[in-house]
């Protein structure tokens, strides 16, 4: 039982960490990526190499993985953002990027065994450690989005042209968000590798990218706590319900459509989860009930 719970907790933590990154990019900068699994993969491989060949301990290896992913983010991000690529073209380019990473890793044999992948990775991802890391990531992401940097990113999402004409260097701000998202995904990749103890190039697939995106969308763009909660729920459900395991992706797809149709602002609608917010919500419901009761008594 303990093992079962700690397993679920670990998976939630990994998912939440990666989603933190995508929140900054999609939820706050308005760039929509279909390929962040590529960064998870790169982070996982980089940190595993650091651990196995250079004997890095867990945390430094994880940060190394994040930095490696962020560096690739810079290399990919600079030309794409500079060319003002956005919207659909960017999403498709990112799809191409993650496929390139996947197929590229499958064809490199020294150190990483090509398509066979790497096994016997030390199992460093203890539930409590990764949970702490994930919690820390959520906190710093929240702080970041509330900072000047985050507000500038948000201004690009809301009205890119106006932001540029008011002095925002949109190329650089986008690259920044992109690198941050790559960094978090890279760390999550390392945590993943150190939980399952083996990785292959196919470990992180388009489905992974879609799941990350789903969490950001369900949670609400422009919110940090919303996607965090959504990521936790999405990671938890298939582990807890066998039925859902099988139909999980069907369900995700359906919910994604329904959310976009009826509540495109997501769970939190750009707001943050807080005790005050809950109190406000309850008050609203009570006042509605009161009003209705008043109408009935009339």
């Amino acid at each position: 039982m303990y093992q079962y719970l700690s397993g679920i907790l670990t998976i939630i933590a990994i998912n939440v960490t990666a989603v933190c990154g995508l929140t900054v990019l999609t939820g706050f900068t308005g760039l929509f990526s279909m390929g962040h699994a590529g960064f998870m993969s790169l982070g996982a491989y980089a940190s595993v190499i650091a651990m196995l060949y250079w004997h890095f301990p867990f945390i430094p290896a994880m940060i190394f993985g994040g930095l490696a992913a962020a560096l690739v983010g810079l290399i990919v991000g600079y030309p794409t953002m500079k060319g003002k690529m956005r919207g659909d073209t960017f999403a498709i380019a990112m799809l191409g990027f993650s496929e390139t990473v996947r197929l590229g890793l499958s064809n490199i044999y020294p150190y990483i065994n090509g398509a066979l992948g790497i096994s016997d990775i030390p199992r460093y991802s203890e539930a409590w450690v990764v949970t702490l890391i994930a919690a820390f990531c959520v906190y710093i992401t929240y702080r970041y989005t509330r900072s000047k940097h985050g507000r500038i990113a948000l201004s690009i999402r809301d009205e890119e042209t106006a932001a540029e004409l008011i002095g925002v260097n949109i190329t650089w701000e986008k690259i920044k968000s992109f690198m941050i998202s790559a960094f978090f995904c890279g760390m999550a990749g390392c945590m993943y590798a150190c939980y399952y103890t083996f990785i292959t190039p196919n470990t992180f697939s388009t489905t992974t990218s879609n799941n990350l995106l789903a969490a950001v969308v369900f949670g609400g763009m422009g919110s940090v706590t919303g996607p965090t909660i959504a990521a936790a729920i999405l990671a938890m459900l298939p582990e807890m319900l066998r039925f859902v395991q099988k139909w999980r992706l069907v369900l995700y797809g359906a919910v994604m459509i329904l959310v976009m149709l009826f509540r495109p602002e997501g769970l939190m609608g750009g707001r943050e989860f807080s005790i005050k917010g809950i109190a406000r919500w309850f008050r609203k419901i009570f006042s509605k009930l009161n009003r209705r009761a008043g109408e009935v008594s009339k």
């Binding site: 003002k84 191409g96 197929l103 099988k246 992706l249 069907v250 459509i257 976009m260 149709l261």
Partner: protein
């Protein structure tokens, strides 16, 4: 030399499938300015339509192809009417339409996996696998048919868009959907026609792809190639989509033949990224400046 010609022909035949797919995708993009990421499953459902037309109804191949196209068109219309149209009415940002498209893709693809099984099936007609030998160059019937029919389809599409009144409405809409609506073009009608055509092309190319390779619920992933082709050619440009598709087909065949088939897809994606870095609007795309 014959080997090289053989490769060119193979490249052209797969390229024409990509071109057809890319056109179906680019058509919607050029008018409504968003990516229909549900395109892959539309193609997949169409292909299965053709497969079941043969397996259950014993339809001959031409009827099955037609059935596949119609099924794809039908599902394309369902997607438009049930999801995209209500969202456009609410002036939803493009991002939301794209996410909804991904949702549709996930939903239908995984529904198909759960109900039909994820296994790979051969297309139930051997006709396509028969080989024609011309001066040492062997050409599969499927290649001939797909190349030929794709060209016919593209020609029909061209005639329809450039030579008919409905086509004029479509072209006008591609400049400015809102204004065209005000000018008395029935935008809802245009959208139905456009999504139906897009579905027809998806169905046709799906059937050819199935005949050439295999049929499976996640075959919609091939539509990624259509996105790549359309992006290479220039998003929103129909001639660009055709060009991009054919170039992509040739490139892939050449890479598999002379470099390594393992690197085929990777090089396709890499070429796309490189092209985008140097020509961000693709080969025939126009630079779209936002109106201030």
């Amino acid at each position: 030399m014959t080997v090289f010609i053989q490769q060119i022909i193979t490249g052209l035949s797969i390229g024409s499938i990509y071109a057809l797919l890319a056109v179906g995708y680019a058509l919607i993009y050029s008018i409504f300015n968003f990516s229909n990421f549900a395109f892959g499953v539309i193609m997949m459902v169409g292909t299965f339509g053709a497969v079941y037309a043969i397996n259950w109804a014993g339809a001959p191949l031409p009827i099955a192809i037609l059935a596949g196209m119609l099924v794809a068109a039908a599902i394309s219309l369902v997607v438009e009417v049930s999801t995209y149209r209500p969202m456009r009415r609410k002036n939803a940002p493009r991002l939301y339409l794209m996410i909804a498209g991904i949702g549709i893709n996930m939903f239908i693809e995984n529904l198909a996996i759960q109900t039909l099984g994820s296994s790979v099936k051969p297309f139930p007609s051997d006709w396509g696998r028969e080989i024609l030998n011309v001066g040492g160059v062997s050409i599969a019937f499927a290649d001939l048919l797909s190349g030929g029919l794709s060209l016919v389809m593209l020609a029909c599409l061209w005639l329809f868009i450039y030579r008919t009144k409905t086509g004029l409405g479509i072209r006008a809409s591609s400049y400015d959907v809102n204004t065209t609506g005000l000018m008395g073009v029935n935008v809802d009608m245009v959208s139905l026609v456009v999504f139906a055509i897009s579905g027809l092309t998806a169905g046709l190319s799906g059937v050819f792809y199935g005949m050439k390779y295999t049929v499976y619920p996640s075959m919609g992933i091939v539509s990624n190639k259509a996105f790549v082709a359309a992006v290479i050619g220039g998003l929103g440009s129909l001639p660009g989509a055709v060009l991009g598709g054919i170039l992509l087909g040739l490139l892939e065949t050449m890479v598999s033949a002379y470099v390594s088939s393992l690197l085929r897809d990777m090089i396709a994606y890499l070429v796309m990224i490189v092209i985008l870095v140097f020509i961000p609007n693709g080969i025939m795309g126009k630079s779209v400046k936002e109106k201030l």
